[in-house]
């Protein structure tokens, strides 16, 4: 118990640090001295009052301080954006870092803080400070595990370091994460990036899965969506899924029948699928719009040749079929003979046997004979195909010989 001097509430009001007594000694019936002893209590009360006032003052000051910080953070972030646009990454890093200094301790603006942190991390990553960038991204990912942009950046950092497993983990988190503003297109872009990464790292099977999923979710509402299908088709073609690629190009052409990229892609995809008629058709349409590249030109010519030499094409008359067969046989035999002559004694037995067999069948391979014996066309063509295959000993085939070889393979169902 405090045993200080007696005091009263007047004392509390007048001078709170001193004890004051009230004496009732002059009262005749009561000589009781009231021991208020409020000195300590008074100090405690006063302390509580001062504490409240200080709390309010500090609160106001802290609020003003945080407002200043927020404003500075915004200003420095804007400077950072400008520096990024100028391509001055060093200054951008400094600016974002300053923004973060003024933003980081401010709990009210955690979302703004995260944005600055994200910008800083992106600038750091772009300027080659991978580890520090990763630290910021990881810190952001810890705060918002589902934040897709953060996971995408982490995926890019892992991809940059060829860390396939981490990259795959973060890309998946980005694809299935939370995007702000147009999540569908963001997810699509992330998936495309992921698929490209997988293709670059020799993982076409995983890439195919991503691309098929991508293709299934592509919009097909307007002409503006055609490029998406073209891009998907191109990636599918790269991943070796030609049929899916072809259908994506065709979907693109349905949306925009004059899309040059779609025509080119469809032509290439059709060529890969041994559909030379379509290949020639699409590539011809493309060539009418724009000049084709050397490779595409080659494909167009080969496709045209295959179509021109194909005796099995639907709707051919017997006369035309016989003419094509005889011509193909003649081309193949000439090629084989030329090859054998150039090789001399080193010509393979296979080549020699094929030539010998063809020589024996020469009468049946005449146009006149074939007009009357249309059933002999497949057999003669098989002979022509075997001659072309045997002539491969002299090197890759070109022109009509290549067309015949491709025709033969497409008949056999072999991949191109």
């Amino acid at each position: 118990m405090f045993s200080g001097p007696p005091s009263n509430l007047c004392g509390l009001a007048k001078g709170l640090h001193a004890s004051v007594a009230i004496a009732t000694t002059n009262l005749p019936e009561s000589n009781h001295t009231i021991n208020w002893n409020l000195s300590r209590e008074a100090v405690l009360l006063l302390s509580a009052l001062v504490l409240v006032i200080l709390f309010v003052f500090t609160g106001l000051m802290a609020r003003f301080y945080h407002q200043t910080e927020r404003s500075l953070a915004r200003q420095w972030s804007i400077n950072g954006d400008a520096a990024t646009q100028r391509g001055d990454l060093k200054e951008a890093v400094d600016d974002y870092r300053t923004a973060l200094i003024y933003s980081r301790s401010n709990g009210e603006t955690s979302s703004a803080n995260d944005v600055y942190e994200l910008h800083l991390a992106e600038a750091l990553a772009d300027s080659g400070h991978v580890e520090e960038a990763r630290s910021y991204f990881l810190s952001l990912a810890e705060k918002q595990p589902g934040a897709a942009p953060v996971n995408l950046e982490l995926a890019r950092l892992a991809a940059r370091q060829n860390n396939v497993s981490d990259a795959a983990r973060y890309y998946n988190a980005a694809i299935f994460g939370v995007w702000e503003g147009d999540p569908a297109s963001q997810r699509r872009a992330a998936r495309i990036e992921f698929a490209k990464f997988l293709l670059q790292h020799g993982q076409p099977t995983e890439a195919q899965a991503q691309l098929i999923a991508l293709a299934s979710a592509l919009p097909a509402a307007s002409r503006a969506d055609a490029p998406l299908h073209v891009q998907a088709g191109q990636l599918l073609l790269e991943a070796g899924v030609q049929s899916q690629a072809f259908s994506e190009f065709r979907r693109a052409l349905l949306l925009d029948r004059n899309s040059l990229d779609a025509l080119r892609g469809a032509g290439m995809a059709a060529y890969s699928l041994s559909d030379y008629r379509d290949a020639a058709n699409y590539l011809e349409r493309a060539s009418r719009q724009s000049q084709l590249g050397a490779g595409e030109k080659q494909f167009l010519e080969t496709s045209r040749a295959v179509v021109a030499h194909d005796p099995f094409a639907a709707g051919l008359s017997t006369i035309e079929q016989a003419r094509r067969t005889a011509e193909d046989f003649s081309i193949a035999l000439n090629k084989a003979q030329a090859c054998a002559t150039s090789l001399g004694a080193t010509a393979s037995q296979n080549l020699q046997q094929a030539i010998a067999s063809a020589q024996g069948q020469k009468p049946q391979a005449s146009e006149t004979y074939l007009r009357q014996h249309a059933d002999m066309v497949p057999a003669i063509m098989e002979l022509a195909f075997s001659l072309e295959d045997a002539a491969m000993q002299c090197g890759p085939l070109t022109g009509d010989d290549l067309a015949l070889q491709l025709l033969g393979r497409s008949r056999a169902g072999a991949p191109q």
Partner: protein
């Protein structure tokens, strides 16, 4: 009317014994007298209730600790905000201030600080730790509130203008000052008033550092020096309260984004040992430089105390044009170092630049703390060692940030010589207990190197330069206390048994020529208790007709206090009242007498030790 200042056991109020506001109520008017009976009864009842509700001093002390924590937290929040505003106002908001400002501002601010310190706040010089200790040990915990205000203003100006000093130690002193004021106003007893300052110190440091555990341990390790349950409770309460306030207003985000860390390869500990060695020698360099430069600058003739802070500011400002990182507390740059922002040779430049800048700032008389500079130097050194390790051993897994973090603790252990605080500080800041092994290894090595090559800690060096003989907590920790086993001697033979008769005992003693009448012989009881008796007393028992009685019966109930060999001698001295010596018995068997201890034995032991 009682004397307002006659609190039993308390201190007189600083204002003196007179009660300026005391008043005596004049005699009441006659009509009031009739009512006074009932009024007096009411007042009596209220007084009884009040007395029942009044706090005891122990409870008040704990309540006061919370209040101190809250006040200190608020003060530190305002202090940190003031530093930031000062910095933004004087140096601008950019990380790297513009060259003209850097050149001019620290010098001018240094001059202003010097005038403020010399003319208005002479007690605010220094970091605040020794000043708090001197308040505790010299002034019974008295710290004028003017010092708190002065510390606030001068440190905010000095640190905000770019002097290479930190806000933690000043916060510690401000907390102690607030506590001292409250203690005085509440007229606490002398003991409590003396203890209240460290409570405030812990609160101030905890709020400034956002690390309550490290603050509590630092105050116990460096200011109080002892672990006492009563004080510990109050210190913890104050520290927690202040941190709550600080986090409430400034957010709970740590100063640094600490990197994820796990020790993958135990061989990596070798690198941390290397960091410990480097940290030990850098701490030595820092301490020696500060210990050498400070007295020399302070002894410069003329009005040097006016222009020294300005000159230090000018030098730091010029350096700051190229390496602005060494200006101010530098927490943001520590964060950057933790994340591999700097290359190792630049980090080493920062280490030495900061040591020079801090030495100049502190020695010039500008008020401010050394915690932040020590952390800065440690972080940069750690990051440099970590960066070097990654260059030499590219497959090393430890992140540079982990080295920077450990480096901070290393400088704390080596420079400030607070080994426990250093470990807990790193753990608390990082929140990662897997880093404890590197921290302990590195800190222990740095501490031992510093201990080996520097006699006293930096706080002791500085207090001695001030002419103060403050108790050295380190010496208390490291000094070996004299124990009973160091002073005891073999027991005086024979040892009597409580079952012996008085007659047998006399016979036993008299047959031994060495037994002297003035000797005090020990008597063993079967219960393991001991008593003592002299030959004349035995003869008296025999003369009184108790010759055939057992010693147990004639010696009565009084027994000798027992000592154990491992107990401190000062305990023995407290127990040794009327007995010439006390038995020293084994802890395993109280009946086994290992020796006896007398006051002369203790004095001889002290003489031997001092010789």
């Amino acid at each position: 009317v009682s004397d307002a200042n006659s609190v039993p056991g308390g201190l007189p109020s600083p204002g003196g014994s007179a009660n300026p506001n005391a008043e005596i109520v004049a005699a009441p008017a006659p009509e009031a007298v009739a009512e006074s009976g009932a009024w007096a009864q009411i007042l009596k009842a209220i007084d009884a209730v009040r007395q029942r509700l009044a706090l005891k001093e122990g409870s008040l002390f704990l309540l006061l600790s919370v209040a101190i924590g809250l006040f200190s937290g608020l003060a530190v929040v305002c202090f940190r905000v003031a530093i930031e505003w000062t910095r933004i106002g004087l140096l601008g908001s950019a990380i790297s201030p513009a060259a003209p400002r850097v050149f001019v501002v620290p010098a001018i601010a240094g001059l202003v600080v010097a005038v403020l310190v010399i003319k208005f706040f002479p007690r605010v010089r220094g970091s605040g730790v020794n000043q708090t200790k001197s308040a505790v040990y010299i002034s019974d915990g008295y710290i004028p509130f003017q010092t708190v205000i002065g510390k606030f203003v001068c440190c905010a100006l000095a640190i905000g203008s770019g002097q290479s000093l930190g806000p933690e130690d000043p916060s510690l002193q401000m907390g102690a000052g607030i506590a001292s004021l409250l203690g005085r106003k509440l007229k606490l007893s002398r003991d409590k008033t003396r203890l209240i300052a460290p409570v405030g110190a812990a609160a101030g440091l905890a709020a400034a550092f956002n690390a309550p555990v490290a603050a509590v341990i630092f105050v116990i390790e460096e200011v109080i020096g002892t672990w006492s349950a009563g004080v510990l409770g109050a210190i913890v309460l104050a520290a927690v309260s202040s941190v709550v306030v600080s986090r409430w207003f400034l957010g709970s985000e740590p100063f640094f984004r600490t990197p994820a860390y796990s020790l993958v390869n135990p061989l990596e500990l070798i690198s941390y040992a290397v960091l410990g060695i480097a940290g030990g020698f850098v701490s030595l360099l820092f301490s020696k430089l500060l210990g050498y430069v400070r007295p020399r600058l302070r002894s410069l003739p003329g009005k040097s105390e006016y222009w020294l802070p300005a000159a230090a500011g000018l030098v730091i400002g010029i350096g700051g044009i190229w390496i602005p990182q060494v200006m101010g507390a530098g927490y943001d740059f520590m964060d950057q170092a933790m994340h591999g922002q700097f290359v190792w040779y630049f980090l080493l430049l920062l280490v030495f630049g900061k040591i020079v800048a801090t030495t100049l700032s502190f020695s010039s008389g500008a008020p401010g703390g050394m915690f932040a500079p020590a952390l800065f130097v440690g972080a940069m050194l750690g990051a440099a060692v970590g960066g070097g390790e990654h260059i030499l051993f590219p497959n090393a897994t430890g992140p540079v940030g982990a080295y920077a973090l450990v480096g901070m603790g290393t400088l704390f252990a080596g420079f400030l010589r607070v080994p426990l605080t250093s470990v807990f500080m790193v753990l608390e800041v990082s929140g990662n207990y897997s880093i404890i092994l590197p921290v302990i290894i590195s800190n222990a090595i740095a501490y031992l190197i510093s201990l080996r090559f520097q006699e006293a800690s930096i706080f002791d060096v500085l207090s001695r330069q001030e002419g103060l003989e403050l108790p050295s907590m380190e010496e208390m920790r490291e000094g070996q206390a004299l124990r009973v086993e160091d002073a005891m001697r073999p027991p005086v033979e024979p040892i009597l048994s409580s079952d012996d008769t008085v007659e047998d005992a006399i016979l036993n003693l008299e047959t031994r020529k060495e037994a002297k009448a003035e000797e005090f012989f020990t008597v063993r009881f079967p219960t393991g208790r001991w008593a003592g008796v002299r030959i004349p007393a035995l003869h008296k028992f025999a003369a009184d007709g108790h010759a055939k009685s057992r010693l147990a019966d004639v010696l009565g109930a009084q027994r000798l206090p027992r000592l154990h060999p491992d107990q401190p001698v000062d305990l023995a001295m407290r127990l040794m009242r009327d007995w010439p010596y006390l038995p020293v018995v084994s802890r395993a068997n109280a009946r086994s007498l290992e020796g006896v201890l007398s006051m002369s034995d203790i004095l001889s032991a002290y003489l031997r030790k001092s010789a």
